[in-house]
Subunit: 479 residues, 2 copies
């Protein structure tokens, strides 16, 4: 069932690689960073996700005979290059954030070091994999925060942007905090609990709503979530659910699990439904809402006192509809020359698009007492960060904005996952990733978690890195 996705790459990675080989650069070491510039929905942080699939892809990298034949047919590539691809063996080092980590603009989230031809070749899939799952995990985390502890189920497969978007999207929503999915294959393959009971068609197929509920309860007495809006929630759906609970479930010693409202005004209907269920002796019967929800509607519903215990979210989550692109980029940071790594920078008219050169590391500073995350600190790799002393950090775009950090521990948050092409990272269980994410988000300031105009978390450069960057810019300008 494994797909070989080696050829899922932009064609220019291949033309460039052929060129690098032509000029004998295949062994020249380069360092590339993946980073992003903008947090989706103008939020305060993103959730890093997709590493497991990236690792799988890299482990499986292999150009098949079919691929080689296809490329030969393009008439652009040398036989030496095609032979190189045939014998391709990945030998780069890769460092990455762990899945579930809150991440911030302008810090490297993946660092690749190795033969330029290889480091270049994986660009498309590094970006594709991490961009997609980070996008969806970030959105899920926003919705889960809005729901304030109420479980959210992911119901978006039918509106996902194709198959993997449904399956791996469900995985990302789980990392971000969702509790379940409607997607059966995501349960089979990733162990994300799949849930689901009935659609409107079930209710319509039988002679009446009452018959439909009764028939359902007889087959699934332990798992009754009645869809109550096919005709009229208050006049028909809830009364029929109560009647079936009384007539069918009660004699069996069972209770209805929930009612689901999929249309109409959720605030109004959920309060009505709550009262009716309570009065009928079912205060434990939960109310689920599932109608084009997002973090703003969820927050507003709860502010209005909606009696919703469970949410199901579809298209707005699985596509991150309000901001459906995670704009990670993959940029050259250094290239070897005579055995030494030479920092590289991409200049640009717009200041925000200038890259940070050098082979780098990222430290996160945590308050020694509360464990709160204070700032991220990007260094030249190999620099030691002494967290026994106060340290003054500054905004790299506005160096006069300074802050002295005291009483903290500094922890490198980039983990090595490949060592000369060999995977050295043990993949965590999905539930552990999800718990790790929840814990890390809990250690962010509330101000960073605000939906609108959140506080900008500090991502600062070490003195040495800032100087390297500045020197390089001065030099280029002088030329």
């Amino acid at each position: 069932m494994k797909r070989n996705l080696t050829m899922l790459t932009d064609f220019y990675e291949i033309t460039m690689s052929n060129g690098y080989l032509e000029y004998g650069l295949e062994e020249r070491t380069a360092v590339f960073d993946m980073f992003f510039r903008k947090i989706p929905d103008d939020g305060g942080f993103a959730i890093f996700a997709g590493l497991e699939q990236l690792i799988e892809y890299i482990k499986d990298l292999e150009f098949t005979e079919e691929d080689i034949e296809f490329l030969r047919g393009k008439g652009q590539f040398s036989e030496a290059f095609l032979a190189y691809l045939k014998n391709f063996r990945f030998s780069c080092d890769i460092w990455s954030m762990k899945e579930g980590t809150p991440v911030f603009p302008y810090e490297p989230v993946v660092v690749v070091r190795g033969p330029i031809i290889q480091a270049q070749m994986i660009e498309t899939m590094v970006l594709l994999t991490i961009n997609h799952q980070s996008l969806v995990a970030t959105k899920a985390n926003r919705m889960c925060r809005a729901a304030e502890g109420r479980p959210i189920s992911e119901f978006g497969s039918r509106r996902a942007q194709s198959y993997d978007a449904a399956i791996l999207g469900a995985r990302a929503t789980y990392i971000g905090g969702c509790s379940a999915t409607a997607c059966a294959i995501a349960d089979r393959d990733y162990g994300i609990p799949a849930v689901g009971t009935m659609a409107h068609s079930w209710v319509q197929v039988f002679d009446s709503e009452y018959d439909a509920f009764k028939n359902y309860a007889q087959v699934y007495p332990d798992n009754c979530i009645f869809l109550v809006d096919t005709y009229n929630v208050v006049k028909s759906g809830i009364p029929n659910a109560i009647r079936v609970a009384d007539e069918i479930l009660k004699p069996m010693g069972k209770r209805p699990k929930a009612v689901r409202i999929d249309s109409g005004d959720i605030a109004y209907l959920s309060k009505k439904a709550r009262r009716m269920l309570d009065d009928a002796g079912y205060p434990d019967c939960k109310i689920m809402a599932t109608n084009s929800l997002d973090e703003y509607i969820i927050r507003d519903l709860l502010l209005q006192g909606a009696q919703v215990d469970l949410f199901g979210v579809g298209e707005n989550l699985i596509t991150s509809k309000s901001d459906p692109v995670f704009g990670g980029v993959y940029k050259l940071a250094a290239v070897e020359r005579d055995g030494v790594l030479v920092p590289k920078i991409k200049v640009s008219e717009s200041i925000e698009k200038i890259t940070t050169p050098c082979f780098k590391d990222v430290y996160r500073f945590y308050n020694r007492e509360t464990g709160q995350a204070i700032a991220d600190y990007v260094t030249v790799r190999g620099e030691t960060v002494d967290d026994s002393q106060p340290i003054t950090i500054f905004d790299p775009m506005a160096t006069w904005k300074k802050k002295t950090v005291r009483n903290f521990t500094a922890k490198s948050i980039l983990t090595q996952v490949f060592d000369k092409g060999r995977c050295v990272y043990e993949l965590p269980k999905l539930d552990d990733i999800r718990n790790y994410c929840a814990d890390q988000v809990a250690h962010l300031w509330d101000e960073v978690k605000r939906f609108e105009h959140p506080h900008r978390y500090y991502v600062d450069l070490s003195d040495r890195l800032w100087n390297e960057r500045n020197d390089l810019l001065e030099r280029i300008n002088a030329e």
Copy 2:
């Protein structure tokens, strides 16, 4: 390399199916329609796409031992049902629009008739497949119309919502009118021409931009598209491209194909570049623009006289960023009772959400002389449409709005693709789909093609269908 996606389904399809079997409804015939309510970006029409993948999915439907075990482990399903799944053989009839067809809200684009348990089971994948590719094909068509004949290449893989979104997304952009893709695997598997030359990293790896261009030209003299914005388009990129064209290509009898501008003001820079290339004797060297483009920017650039010959579009196309969801739904239209199909309707508080009952067909009326599409006409299946006489059609939501159509031919636009589970449709070649799409779009009124507030194309119901719908609504209201 084929994946079995049978289990890519919402869990409730499985719980409902198990219930249908329990009640002996597995052979009861039902009719489901897929239709949509809103055109992405509030456009005048959508492009139907994804049928080929839907057909493949249905042909491959098979519950493996692993699937059965997984389902058994959920502890909710009867052994009779698991045996049913093990021996599952698809036996429905399916009618569908052809890929590349302009389609409109509220008309069935896919119709499934067969045993309810089966027709229900494929819901998720019908929607997922058609929603995704129709979304992207529709967006591509908008962009291609904005480009007024200039070729557009699809460059969005790295920002696609996972792997299939990149690959099948590229397929959909090609149907919608794009000319090429950056996605190598989409060329290998679907024959969409893959293109691509160099990234900024290529330019940065060598000692200078001049060296980078020179080295590229020596390897690819026939395919030189120079990326000219790494340092400065006007001061450095274009002059270096011209120098390399003069020094390297000219002596070989070759010409540069294009320069690519990926940042800065495209209108200004392209005009400058055009003049410089013309003055240097390269009026045939094309100019390609590739910076966060969409249909509006493309239109504005051309209005401002930008000298762009080729466009490359990334995230805004592959995710349909401005409106990333195609909201197709799948609704029950009829259920057999005592050997007769009984129409079914889903009522709703909001009028637009009321479904159209009955087993239906869709005719498109074409002007007999010009071939222009005049209106779509939804009928009860089996009704004859006499196009030798004028016919008065009316808006089903505003029946006083009438129009008499004369001198037209009526053509059923739903094609049978499965007959009792057997595929009876020969898949067209992708290029034929693309040409068909272009031809069909050419036969729409310009007013329907406007980006803002397009004319609403008529999708009307036959008298008989309208009466069926009205009678059903009256009856339900009376109850």
